[in-house]
Each structure stands twice: as structure tokens, then as C-alpha cells.
Assembly symmetry: C2
Homo-oligomer: 308 residues x 2
């Protein structure tokens, strides 16, 4: 069987934004950001992407062109009156935590995601970080979902925890960062938190630990992937979204869900995230070459390999 | 060649203490602790141990008997007038950091480590956490060192950084925790910190990251071992010392230093540390069975395994 034939597209819904970011390595203003942008760009390295989201009148056309040039279909991206979602934040010396200066939902506030008819039968779905009500609205429009991944963030755990849980109950996999998992499950133990999330319904949970890598848990398996060791991280923004988009993109590309392929997907996700943080915004992913991905994937495997 | 014949003893110098510890799971007072005790007990799972240290008149004889029953030779442990070293500390909810209430050096203050003549030709050495001057005094007495591992702690980095560096320059491997590596090298990047430590002289550095596992760096290799996932950690005290003692004990046992064996040693170290934290003091290590070690080692390998 020719695997190329099995390449399936992914549908991704999430925030599309313009970010102001400050890190010890510089300051950027109004750059392309948002969960859907990072995850779609990452997924597009493996397969075709159908992006669902909303932008305002101020959203630069060049970004839409950037997506379209990478086989990211933006017919599901609405442009409506008002300003684009904006996030402003900074990182301190150790870069481990994003500090939010301001979040302006703008057009995201009254967004009603409508999936174009031609996209409704997409099998591989990523519900990237966005209001859980919007994630649910997307779920309701799907006609043939095969593997749905959901992400969230502390903001929604604070403001509408129950809705987040409702989303988690309806998906196959959850990606969540370590602090959020601890917050959601009210335990310092990531193992306990992971188990609790699995009990909600998903077959798989991936806890993202930033520089400490990622852990994938299912009922029977526990897999640990390190993060790729970098001497310098310029901007961690979007690493988690890149991870999830890359992971799902790989799964959709091979369209064969089993433990080993999921493990490989987690490593590919980590590889792509390690590139995202090497520069601001999508700058590094935008110029990423296939050979680089293959090479770093091989290095990641070597990093944990132990012979008999 | 029969590997059993190659089993070499290890010599371990470090603090021997009585600890008062408080964690969310309980309070213990005056229990056996100290870097040499944890590391020697861990190493004794693989090979014979020669322990160098000092205790006061108050040190219970039953602890000495405990060591002797495990092939830990205590002829290098001096008993001198005064009180035994005491550490008192507590851990908060997340257990990630030890908070010191008090450190009473007592007999450690004027300790002059003397290695019995019959131990001087020991090839495998662990300089566990103790004043770096004492670590240097031990180094000066060795006649045939083959593989020396040194550990330290923030206390010495604050008070006698130069001496710690002098020790690191004279050993084959350094074990250090992540916060200490960042402090020593003045960088948030563990990769940079690891490289800096390698530049001092050791061929290998292992950065211990607690619940996030351990990283082993050499000039050409980078190896990541996760920590064993536990739902409950009762007392993290001694995990790092257990790790280092277990690692060196395994290396001495097989007496064949190569990259793959070092990787296995790191995993064995992690396995033993995962048992130490399951109970207070040396309670869990004291009853550990070989089958448990073998089983958890296999689980650790599975946790990172990815097929082609």
C-alpha cells in the first residue's frame, strides 16, 4: 500500500492573532501568532490543513498568502468588522513561563465558527486553544471525525472549567501543559492528573512540559519524549501549539493510529516545537526544510536509546 | 569472561547524618540520612561498598549494623566525640524543593577523612556531597582511581565555589542538580551549563532534574532518562544521592565503561531513586528486592522506546 495515498487532511480551529512579545532576546510587535497559526503551520509540514478561525479588518493579507502557499486552506477563516485578536506578553530570564500583559479578544468575542461544507467530513481534527464553547460548536458540525485532539489554556480553566471538561469528554486526545494539568486536576502529581483526564473519556493525554519534554499517557502505556536540547531559546511562544499541530499532522499523514505511530507523532511534535522557539513568531517554521526535521527526529531517538 | 569476576568495589565519601524531615505525608525525627548513607545503600545493591565518613557519639549502632549487613564496609567511618551531623528540612505540597530549617555540621566541622590503607587502591569512587576540601583530601589519598564521580550542593557553591571547581577538575564525572548547575554556570540553559562543566575537565556530567529525570552529557553524546512516574512521593530526600550511588555501583559492577553501559547506569540510578522517594529515610531501599529493580528498569526502557 502506498502511504502517500493515505495522507489525510487535518482541520484546525483556534485563535488567529497578532502578538506583542518581549523576551530577553528582543521585542516584536503585531507579529503573526495564535494557536491556530502555529498548529496549522506545523501540521502543514506533513499534510493539508483546513483552518477555521476569525480575523479582523486589520489582519494583513500577506499572512493569508503565507498560509495558502503552504497548502493551508483558509476558506474557513472569517474576516469580520473589528480588530484581530491580540495578545501581549513577556518572558523573564528563564523563559519557562509566559507572563500576559494583555489579552484583547476583539473579533474572537462574538465569533461563531462555521465549517465550510466541503470540510465537514474531515477525519483528523485539532481543537486548538480558543473558547471551549467554540470548540464545542466545531464538534457539532463534524460528520466523520476519526481522531480529535483538544487543547486549552489556564484562562479557560479559570473562567469556564466545566465547558473545558465537556470538550475533553468528546475527544480522542487531550494536549495540556503541566501547570494546566495540575490546575485542572488539583494535584501536584502529573501521573495522577493524566489518569484523571483519561477518566473523563479521551484515550490519550499528552502533558507538555516545555523544556522537560512531553509525556503521553494511555490506559496501558506511558511514553516520555525529551525536548530537543537547545543552547538558546529566543521565544517560547507557540511551542505547545506547534507540538500539537505537528503531532496531529503526522498522525493524519500516515493515517494509521497505533502506539508506535503515536509515539513517533509525539517526537515529531517535539522536533517542530524545538524549531519554533529558535526565533520569534513563525519565522523559523516558515523556512524549515524537510531534511532538518528528519535529522532532528533521528537525534531525538538517539537521545533516549539504550541497547541491551 | 565471567562478569561476576569483574565486580569491583566502590569507595564513597560523604555526609552521614540524622535528619528531621517534614513532608505532606508525615514527620520523622532523627532518622538515618546524609549523602554517603543514601549513595552507599544504593551502590550496595550492585557491589561492595567502602564508606568514608564521620559520626558522633550519639550515632545509633544499629545503623552501622544495617550497613555491615549489606556489605558496606564501615572501617572508614570514624566515630569521634561530639554530635552527628544533623539536617532539618521540609517540603511543600509540590515536593520539588527541599527547604532547610537548620544544618548542624557538628562532627563534620573538624573531620579529616582518612582512608584505610586497604581501601586506597579502590578504582571506583564517589565523592558525595560534603565540604569540597574533604573531597580533595580523599582524592589525595587514592592510588589507583579509574572512575571518580563528584557531587556537591548549593551550600558549597555559595560558600566555596572555587574549591568545588577544583574538585570537578580532578574527576571523571560530575552529578549535579539542575538548579545547582544553573547557579554554578550562571545560565538558565542546562545545555550551556552542562557544556561549561565539561570544559572544566570531567568527561561526563549528569544533571539531575528530579521528577523530570536526568540528562547525561559527554563531548559527543546527550542522553535523557525520564524519572519513573510515581503517583505518590512521600519524601524526596536522598533521591539525588541514591541516583549517583546506584549509577556508580552499576558501573563498578560491570567494570566496563562505555556509552551504552553509562546510559544503563543512569537508568539504574533513576530506578533506585524512584524507590527511595516512596518512603522516608532508607526505609524503602532497605527492603528493595532485585526483582523490583529489574522490573522497573525494563519499564523505564519501554517508556522511551520507539520502533522504526
Amino acid at each position: 500500500m502506498n502511504r502517500e495515498c493515505n495522507k489525510k487532511p487535518v482541520l484546525i480551529v483556534g485563535s488567529i492573532g497578532l502578538d506583542d512579545i518581549e523576551t530577553p532576546f528582543g521585542i516584536v510587535k503585531g507579529v503573526l501568532g495564535g494557536a491556530a497559526c502555529y498548529s496549522s503551520t506545523a501540521a502543514s509540514i506533513f499534510t493539508d490543513v483546513r483552518m477555521i478561525g476569525v480575523v479582523g479588518e486589520d489582519f494583513p493579507t500577506e499572512h493569508i498568502e503565507f498560509f495558502n502557499n503552504r497548502d493551508i486552506d483558509t476558506r474557513g477563516v472569517a474576516r469580520i468588522p473589528g480588530e484581530t485578536f491580540r495578545w501581549s506578553g513577556y518572558y523573564e530570564y528563564d523563559m519557562n513561563q509566559a507572563h500576559t500583559r494583555s489579552t484583547d479578544l476583539n473579533v474572537l468575542e462574538n465569533f461563531n465558527p462555521i465549517i465550510p461544507d466541503v470540510f465537514k467530513d474531515t477525519e483528523y481534527i485539532f481543537l486548538a486553544n480558543i473558547h471551549p464553547e467554540l470548540q464545542l460548536a466545531v464538534l457539532d458540525q463534524l460528520t466523520a471525525p476519526k481522531f480529535i485532539v483538544a487543547d486549552t489554556m489556564n484562562f479557560w480553566l479559570d473562567s469556564c472549567r466545566d465547558k473545558v471538561i465537556e470538550v475533553f469528554k468528546r475527544v480522542n486526545a487531550v494536549t495540556i501543559n503541566d501547570a494546566e494539568a495540575r490546575q485542572l486536576c488539583n494535584t501536584p502529581s502529573l501521573v495522577k492528573a493524566g489518569r484523571q483526564i483519561l477518566e473523563l473519556g479521551p484515550e490519550m493525554v499528552v502533558i507538555k512540559k516545555g523544556e522537560h519534554g512531553a509525556v503521553m499517557m494511555t490506559a496501558d502505556n506511558y511514553f516520555v519524549a525529551p525536548s530537543f536540547p537547545l543552547e538558546e531559546v529566543k521565544d517560547p511562544t507557540g511551542a505547545g501549539d506547534t507540538f500539537a499541530g505537528g503531532m496531529l499532522g503526522y498522525i493524519a499523514r500516515i493515517d494509521d493510529i497505533n502506539e508506535n505511530n503515536l509515539r513517533k507523532a509525539v517526537i515529531y511534535g517535539s522536533v517542530l516545537a524545538s524549531y519554533t522557539v529558535e526565533d520569534f513568531s513563525l519565522n523559523r517554521l516558515a523556512v524549515l526544510e524537510p531534511g532538518e526535521v528528519i535529522c532532528r527526529f533521528a537525534e531525538m531517538r538517539r537521545m533516549t536509546f539504550v541497547n541491551e
